[in-house]
């Protein structure tokens, strides 16, 4: 997917409020964004809802994309922010329910896979913190450079490198990586 084609579509979408051009951008990148959020959230339905929200936010903020770095890098930054905001909201919701004396059964209602159905990747991701998971997925699943990940997560490149190093170490220590099922 060429960056210049993305930039041209962004320019068309911003200058003329061209929703068809933005639709083309969504078509080109929805798979990456949905895969990223699915790996991060672990719940496909929730991840797809978040992906919709992410693209709506992206439309609102499109004029802030400067063309520096790849469009997918910028889009994953929006996706990560959307994920963190939703996490904060659901945490606050659970706290309100708890203070009202109700049991927050939100986690039970979500599509949680049984342990024996988990892929190798799900197991690897489970040993990582949320931040490590996001960075590892951006790096190994989406192919973003350290600088792009730094831009997306508002972290210095050195910190990104050390988080990846730590993540790899955790996976190495927790599992004996041999043959695997795709996640």
């Amino acid at each position: 997917m060429s960056t210049s084609a993305d930039n041209e579509l962004v320019a068309r979408a911003v200058s003329g409020q061209d929703t068809a051009a933005f639709g083309e951008l969504v078509r080109r990148h929805q798979s990456h964004v949905r895969n990223f959020l699915r790996k991060l959230a672990g719940d496909y339905a929730l991840a797809d809802d978040l992906a919709q929200d992410c693209f709506l936010h992206a439309w609102d903020k499109l004029q802030t994309y400067s063309g520096r770095g790849t469009f997918i890098g910028w889009l994953l930054k929006v996706a990560y922010t959307t994920f963190l905001q939703s996490k904060r909201k659901s945490k606050r919701y659970a706290e309100i329910l708890e203070s009202a004396g109700q049991v927050a059964d939100q986690e039970e209602r979500s599509t949680v896979q049984p342990v024996d159905e988990l892929s190798d990747l799900d197991k690897y991701l489970a040993v990582l913190t949320e931040e490590e998971r996001a960075i590892m997925v951006m790096s190994y699943a989406c192919g973003l450079s350290h600088r792009e990940i730094g831009d997306a997560t508002d972290m210095p490149v050195g910190t990104v490198k050390s988080v990846i190093f730590r993540g790899k170490e955790k996976i190495r220590n927790s599992f004996e990586i041999k043959d695997h099922k795709h996640g």
């Binding site: 929703t19 933005f22 639709g23 929805q30 895969n35 350290h146 790899k168």
Partner: protein, 112 residues
């Protein structure tokens, strides 16, 4: 990943993190539909708010004008006559504002 030197472990992790592309299945169409709906709502909000605001403000504004006209007895006749001829009537101003709002929406629709 231009700046990374990939070792065997990196390549293994890449293959582990690799996953099948997600089929669009109407996802992009539904996103664009939502955006178009929001654009329309945004376009309609301002004229509708202007009309409602005008409706709400009309009565107190008319009262204010009436009170001001009572005060006009204190002002010499010659001054009132010259002012009345230069300031348009309130009804005309409101009508003009509504026409302007409708015209702006119409222009947008034609542009679309």
């Amino acid at each position: 990943m231009a700046e990374k030197i990939k070792d065997a472990e990196d390549r293994l992790l890449e293959s582990l993190f690799d996953s099948e592309p997600v089929a669009d299945d109407g996802f992009s169409v539904s996103v664009v539909r939502k955006i178009n709906r929001r654009l329309w709502l945004r376009r309609l909000t301002l004229p509708i708010a202007a009309v409602i605001g005008g409706g709400i403000a009309f009565k107190p504004l008319a009262g204010l004008v009436a009170a001001l006209s009572n005060l006009s007895s204190l002002i010499p006749e010659a001054v009132i006559n010259s002012a009345a001829s230069s300031v348009p009537q309130l009804q005309t101003v409101v009508l003009g504002a509504i026409l302007l709002a409708v015209g702006l929406v119409g222009m947008r629709m034609i542009e679309e």
